[in-house]
Structures are given as structure tokens and as C-alpha cells.
Symmetry: D2
Subunit: 199 residues, 4 copies
């Protein structure tokens, strides 16, 4: 059976977010990869008798999206920190497209940070590239799998699960965590995400 494989990320010292938090967070990511493979394996096993095991197969088929998206979300999250903070060039087509849809890059970023910091519950604040419409979209994903947009590429994702920030910031430091994660971004990688999706 084909396997999903956990990636490695070369993450420098970060503003606000401790090395210990990143270390623990990476273990959680590896858990999603492991469990994506685990469901595939269990699925194969129970599928030997698909009628007798239909209830359990149904639940595994329903839950796979939690593990799979937990894997993919984190790959976007961690890779955007690689190489240390780098700004988005004014000449970037990605920056221009943001400005087209939201008046200006700064206005968009301000609204995006408010969404990340104030949407109730845990989940992800996400900037998407919609391949079909060739446009950007922003929306919220609950948990890992509730609210992914079909066939859209996640260009930027801010993890608002509490394991991302509670050890460093306490729950009441949520807003500062959002500021710091954004400050730590390598926008050249985010632009690369956009380029690949829009090619």
C-alpha cells in the first residue's frame, strides 16, 4: 500500500513561539501522517468483508478527512516558517491579486488577523486560491476537516488550535500569537504556494 510520509521542516528560532512548542507541534503533525496511513490500513483490513463491517468502514471513511487534512494543514503551516521572515515584494502578482480583491494588502491582512484571533472555537484561518475562478478566498476551517474548500489550494493557514500557542502565550495571549505567527512568515514561500496553484 502506498504510504503518506512525514516531511521535515527547517524552522529557525521564532519570535514568540518557543522551540519546545514547535517540537511538540511537529509530533502532532507526525501523528496525523501516521493515522492517515493507519486508517488506510484498517480500511483494507475491514474491507475483507465490506458488508459485515459496513458500519465501521463508514466511520473510517468519514474520519479519514480529519487525519488527512490534519497532515496537509500542518505542512502549509510549518513550511511557511522555513528560512525565516521575508517580506512580500510589491511587484508580486500574488500581492496585486490580494489588493484587487480586498482594496489593499494591509486591509486584507488586518481583516485576516481579526478573523484568526476572534472566530470562536479552534480551527484555521485560511487564505485559498480557487483554481476554477482564478481568485483568492478567505474562510475558516473548524478542527482540521470541517470547511476545507474543494479543489482550492491552501496558500496560507494560521493554526488556531490551542496546541499552537497555549504553552507560550496562555489562552488569553491568542491575539499576540496571531501577530507573532504572521511576523515569522517567509512570504516568499507563501508566494510560491500561490505560483504553484495558479500555474
Amino acid at each position: 500500500m502506498k504510504q503518506f510520509t512525514a516531511k521535515s521542516f527547517n524552522i529557525p528560532a521564532l519570535k514568540g513561539i518557543s522551540a519546545k512548542t514547535i517540537e511538540e507541534h511537529l509530533k502532532l503533525y507526525q501523528g496525523y501522517v501516521k493515522n492517515s496511513n493507519g486508517i488506510m490500513e484498517m480500511y483494507g483490513k475491514y474491507n475483507a468483508d465490506p458488508v459485515a463491517n459496513s458500519y465501521v468502514l463508514g466511520e473510517l471513511g468519514r474520519r479519514f478527512s480529519f487525519e488527512y487534512n490534519g497532515m496537509r494543514n500542518h505542512e502549509v503551516y510549518f513550511s511557511a516558517l522555513e528560512g525565516g521572515p521575508l517580506p512580500l515584494k510589491d511587484s508580486s502578482p500574488f500581492k496585486k491579486l490580494i489588493a484587487e480583491d480586498w482594496k489593499s494588502f494591509d486591509e486584507w491582512l488586518n481583516g485576516f488577523k481579526i478573523m484568526a484571533a476572534t472566530t470562536r472555537g479552534i480551527g484555521w484561518a485560511v487564505l485559498w486560491y480557487d483554481r476554477k475562478e482564478k481568485r483568492l478566498l478567505a474562510s475558516w476551517v473548524d478542527e482540521q476537516h470541517l470547511g476545507q474548500l474543494q479543489d482550492c489550494a491552501m496558500i496560507l493557514g494560521v493554526d488556531m488550535w490551542e496546541h499552537s500557542y497555549v504553552a507560550d502565550y496562555q489562552p488569553s495571549g491568542k491575539k499576540q500569537y496571531v501577530e507573532d505567527y504572521i511576523a515569522n512568515l517567509n512570504w516568499e514561500i507563501i508566494e510560491e504556494n500561490f505560483k504553484k496553484a495558479s500555474a
Copy 2:
């Protein structure tokens, strides 16, 4: 503001599924398109004061995925019926990839139909193409937006919401509806979905 636009589908007379059901079902699809635009518009309006309206903005940002995916899911569902039933050629790379992952096309199709007919609740039985792994995946989507796989293309989606079949089959005819939807498929379009995603 950029608008999403409802597509038209050229759907022939179908086995089992009445023209009336398709007519009503298309109205529901158009509702998803309308409400995707509606949320974008409301979002713009409330965003004039993002701090005072943060709660409502958060809920709209959470709910957008329901309308958006309701639109996309149905586009895959209806387009696969266009042109009338056509088989998948044995020489098709898509058919070969299915056989690689699930022993044979028939074994896969049998398991897929069981998933569609027996998974509890309403939603979608989906065959995906995972762009990152260059592989096919099958899983269940609850409602429209709970369980979409990130950046995966929906190659085939069987709508298991009750509006798809209850007027023609009654709830107890669920299994026959799955058989008939599959029998009505134009596999050349499904193969085209695969080609576009894997290009």
C-alpha cells in the same frame, strides 16, 4: 465584486431519476451559487466595522464553506450525467490507476457503491485525485463541507442527500438510486476530470 455563476447542464432522460427530481435538484444547486455570492456580499457589508461585527463575520467565514462546496459538489454531480451513459475504456490511464490501488476496477466500484449506500446520514461518496501524491483516494463528505480533502480534485461524487432520490425512490430505495446514478454516468467526463487534475 467577482461573482460565482451557475452553470447549465445538458442532462438527458435518465434511468430511475426523474426529470422533475433533476429540475428541483438544479434549483438547489442554484441556491448554493446564490448564497455563495450572498455571503461574500454580507461579508463585505459587515466588514465595514470588523471589530463590532466580529461575531457575525466569524460565523459567515465559517459557513461560507457550506455554500461554496454545495456549489462545487453539484457541478461534479450534474456534469457527469451530460451526454448519457458511456463506459470507461480499458486502455484508460484512470482505469489503470484505480486497478493499481484497489486490485480491480470492479472491486473498487463494488466497495464504492457499498460506501455510498450504507454510510449513515446524508452527504457524499467521493473519489478524489490527490495532486500531491498523484494517487486516488475515496472518502465520505458529510453535508457539503465536512470532510472535503484539501487540494484534492473531486473526480466522482455521488450525492447522498435525500433530495437526490427520495421523491423517486422513497428513503428505502437508497440502494437502487446508487445503482442507477452509477448506471447513468458518462465515464468519459469522469476520465476528463481525472485528466485535468493530473495534468
Copy 3:
């Protein structure tokens, strides 16, 4: 193992809702009872080795609420139709409490019908009695189990799953179905639900 048992309901001929729809709907109810017992049984079986089976046990423990609430919701839905339509007496403490919280019974009923007919997606429009606060609350439940209010009694529940109305009304007849279900209610039974919960 203790078993859940499907109840019988003595439902007269109804306005708008056909006997066939009730017959099929009761089969779905019986499916929830059967699957509530089924999960308990599977849970017992996999629990023989709770560590090795922890993933499947976790999913069964998560999904139980779907089956259980599917059972309970329908018991409130069907029992409110028993004995045929009877109005709520003006002297009823239940009617007075509604008027306290929502200005008047008619204003509440109007808003409740709008919630039932216009909330997007499938689920339940519910009037609850909150035992702790000794007050009534109205809210929406998605599917069967997403949004139940803890330790609150369901006094009235309008099933907005499509099996409730699509065969008789088509999807576009949703609003008329809500009117008809309300017109079919025996309010003495609903008042009885309130009395039991508030005793």
C-alpha cells in the same frame, strides 16, 4: 446488555404529509434505535482489547450521539402527531411562558416557522425547556446530534431532513411542509412534554 426499544405511534391521517411518508419515516426511526443498540454491541466487542482497538472505539464513542439523538428526536416528532390536531389552551402555563419570552405566542410561532423553513441545510428546528434556568430556548440542530442543548428537554422538534417532506412536497415545498406539520400538531402533547420537564 440493556436494549433501546422502538416505540409505536398512533398517527392519524395528516394534512399534507402522506401515510407513505410516515411509514417510510418510521422505518428510519427504527433504524436509529437498531443502530444505537448496534453501537453498544460493537463497543462491547471491541472493548475486549481497548488499547489495540482504541481508534475504532473512539469513532464509535463519537458516533453514538448520531444514532441516539436520531432516536430521541423522532420520538418527539412522531408523538406530537398522535391523537390529531388540538390547540394550546390560553390558560396553559406553557403558553404563558412562551409569551413572556417572545412577546406573544403568535410572534414566537411566526419566528419559529421562519427558522424551520429558512435555516440552510438539514436538521431540526427545536423548542427546548432549560431545566436549570426554568426557561424556554429555541435553536437549530444540524443532522441529529450537532447542537443538542445539554440537559434540556426537547418540547417541540420540526424535522427538516428531506425524508420528512421531499416525496410529498418536492424540495421547493419546504415552507408548506413546515406550515402543515405545525397544523397537524396536538398541542396537548407538547404541553405535556413541557409539564414533565418542568415538574
Copy 4:
């Protein structure tokens, strides 16, 4: 309008769980109370024109359960810590009922701790009293509102959201947190929850 009111809890020094975590956790609880009132208030405001505002009203009616259950879950969680750890008497009818349904109290507790520590994602491990069947049930609640059992009383609830333990234990200390929360319980209060619900 009637208001929900945040309760105070008299929580002693705990094993493993720091005073800082409890302090921050109580602020989150107060946020649920505040937002339960906030939704009621917004609902009243938008209800001045229920047709024009039907989309937003629908979303508020859907989301209320998140805030409401966030409030109720935490009231069960914190109150069970009041007065410091006290065991469950062997003569207790509650203990006997557990033993009836799960062979022995210890076997039940062991399985319950495994469910709390291994169920994927965030949420609550819950022991319920089912008023209708006069029996105990154990199940999982996702987030705050996904999986509550209708009209069942929460007798015991272990908060598995990460704000409960990540600052003190790191994500990898999840299992120890479950052990410690259980060790901190005042079972006389839990028994009292059972008595009230079963009276």
C-alpha cells in the same frame, strides 16, 4: 431579557493542574456565558426583521449551541473539583449502577480514561445519566456542542480541549492530565449530579 450568569467555583490547589491554568480556563468559561447572552441579544436585534435577516438569524440559531454547551460543560468540569478529592463510597447507588453496566467500577474507569486520552481531536469524554432509560451512558462530545445526548444529564465530563492541559503538560502529556484530573475529583459532587438527575 433573562440573562445567563457565570458561577463561581471554590477550587483548591490541584495535583498537576496549575492555578494559572484554572485561572485562564475560568476566563474561557466566562466567555461562553457572555457569548450565550450575546447571541440572545443579537438574535433579538436581527429578529426585528426576520425575513431580511434570515441568513444571519439562521447562523446564530445554529451557533447558540456552541456557546450554551461551552457554558454547561465547564460548570460540570469545575464544580467536580470543589472541596478537594473525595472517593465514591462503595455503598453508593451510583457506584452500583456503574458496576451493573460495566462489570466493575474499575473496569469502567479504565475504559473511560482510555476514551478520554486516545479519542482523536479535542472535545469531552462524558458520563451521562439517561433520564428516559434510567441508565448510564458514556460517549464523546466534539468541540462543545457536537454530540450532546438529548435530555441526558452530564454526570462527569473531562475537558479534552488543549487549554485544559497544554500549558502544564505539553500536548504529549495528555494521558497524565487525564490521570490527574480524575485524581482531583470530588466524587461526592459527581454522585450528587447523579442523584439530582435520577430523582
